[in-house]
Subunit: 235 residues, 2 copies
C-alpha cells in the first residue's frame, strides 16, 4: 500500500521486473493474489505503461498469469509445477555438469573446492547453517551452470527456473535434504568434473537433483501445500 522508495537505475520496466520478482519471491505479493495495475502503478510512482511491460516479462518468467481483459494474478502454489521444474532442472543441470567437465578451467575447479571447504567449515561450526545450506547450495549449482558456457542453458536455468524455485522455497523450508548429505554429493560431482568425467558428472548431478525432488514430493504430499493453502489469504 505504501509508496516504495524510488531509487535504482536503468529503465523503469527493468526496475519493476526486479522489484516485482523480489516481492513475489518474498511473499509481499501473496501467491494467487490479484495484481491491480492502478494500485501497483501508484505504489511505485510510475504509469501503467512501463508496469505492463514488466508484467509481460513476469509472465514469461512463470511468476504471474495474465488473462485478457481480466488481469494478472500471482501464480498458485502447485506441487505438479514444482516437480515439473525439478525434472527439467535435472535434465538441464545434468547437461551443464557434463559440459562443465569438458570446459571448466583448473582455476575454477580450485575455486569450487574452496567453496565446498567453506561450506563444510560453516556446517562444522554449526553457525549460519541456513545460509550455508541455502546460498551455498545455490552458489555451487550456479557456478556449474555458468561453467557450461552454454548461453541458452544459462539463461533458461538462471532466469526462468531459478525464479520459480526461489519462489517456492519460502513454502518448502521444512522439506529439504540434509545439508551434509548435499555437501557430500556436491563433492562427488566436483570430483567427477575435476577428473573430466562428463558422463559421471551428469549422472551424479541428475541423481542429486532427483533426490531433492523426491524428498520435496514426499514432504508436500503430507502438507496442505498441494491444496494451494499458503497460510496467506489471496485477498
Amino acid at each position: 500500500m505504501n509508496k516504495v522508495t524510488t531509487l535504482k537505475s536503468a529503465t523503469l520496466p527493468d526496475d519493476l521486473t526486479q522489484r516485482l520478482t523480489a516481492e513475489i519471491i518474498d511473499g509481499v505479493l501473496p501467491l494467487g493474489s490479484k495484481i491491480s495495475e492502478p494500485e501497483l502503478a501508484k505504489r511505485y510512482g510510475v504509469s501503467r505503461g512501463p508496469l505492463r511491460e514488466a508484467l509481460v516479462k513476469l509472465e514469461t518468467l512463470g511468476l504471474i498469469t495474465r488473462t485478457a481483459n481480466v488481469g494478472a494474478r500471482v501464480v498458485e502454489l502447485n506441487i505438479a509445477d514444482l516437480l515439473d521444474t525439478f525434472t527439467l532442472r535435472e535434465a538441464m543441470e545434468g547437461m551443464a555438469a557434463r559440459l562443465a567437465a569438458e570446459l571448466i578451467s583448473e582455476a575454477e575447479i580450485e575455486q569450487l573446492y574452496t567453496l565446498l571447504e567453506d561450506h563444510q567449515a560453516h556446517l562444522d561450526a554449526n553457525q549460519d547453517e541456513h545460509y550455508a545450506s541455502q546460498n551455498g547450495n545455490e552458489d555451487f549449482h550456479l557456478r556449474i551452470i555458468h561453467a557450461s558456457q552454454n548461453k541458452k542453458l544459462i539463461r533458461v536455468l538462471t532466469q526462468d527456473l531459478y525464479a520459480t524455485i526461489r519462489m517456492y522455497r519460502r513454502y518448502t523450508a521444512d522439506s529439504r535434504p540434509d545439508p551434509r548429505q548435499a555437501l557430500r554429493e556436491h563433492k562427488a560431482i566436483l570430483d567427477a568434473i575435476a577428473n573430466r568425467e562428463g558422463d559421471l558428472a551428469e549422472l551424479l548431478m541428475r541423481r542429486h537433483i532427483s533426490r531433492a525432488a523426491s524428498l520435496l514430493k514426499k514432504a508436500m504430499l503430507h502438507n496442505s501445500i498441494s491444496q494451494g493453502n499458503t497460510g496467506q489469504p489471496s485477498q
Copy 2:
C-alpha cells in the same frame, strides 16, 4: 512498408507477437536489422504501447535484442548460439523421450506409428519431400515433447527453442540430415518408447539430435554463416 491487413483477434500484443515472430522467421525482417517502433506501429496500424509489449516478449523468445535508449534489433545469425540451442534441445528432448516412455498412451503410440508410415510413404513416392522431411520431422518431435506431460518442458521447448530453430532453418536448408536416416532414427526412438524403455528412448533421442547438430556444425564451418553474412543487408 505497406500497412498489413488488419484481422485476427484476442489482444493486440498477442497478435503482434505472432505476426512479428512470423516475419522474423520468414525473413521479412532481416536478421540483424534495426526495428523502428514508429515505423512498425504505423505499418500495423497500432500505437507504440501494445507494440512495445510485443517486443518485450520477442526479446524473451530470443528473437530480438533490445538496448535501453537505443532500440531493438533482430538477432544476428550466430553459429555458437545455434549449437547451444541444439545442445539444450538434446538435454530436454532426451528427457521428454524418457518421460514419454513412461506416460504415453497406447493410442498415442499407434498414432505415432501411423505418422511415421505416412512419412515413409511420402519419401517413397518422392513427392513433397521437403514437406515430409521438415514438417514431418517437427511433428514427430512435438508429439514426443507433449507426451512428456511436463508443462515447463513443453513451454520452454515449443516456445523458446523452436522459435530459434525455425528462424535459423531458412539459412540452413542445405545442411540437414538425410530424411531417410532421420526416419529410421525416429522409428527406433518410437520403438523404445512403445517398449517403455525410458533409458533407451532418451539415449536414442539424444544421439538423434546430437547427430543433426554435428552435421549442422560441419556444414556451417564452410559457410559464411559464421561470419554473420546472411546475404541480406542489415537495414
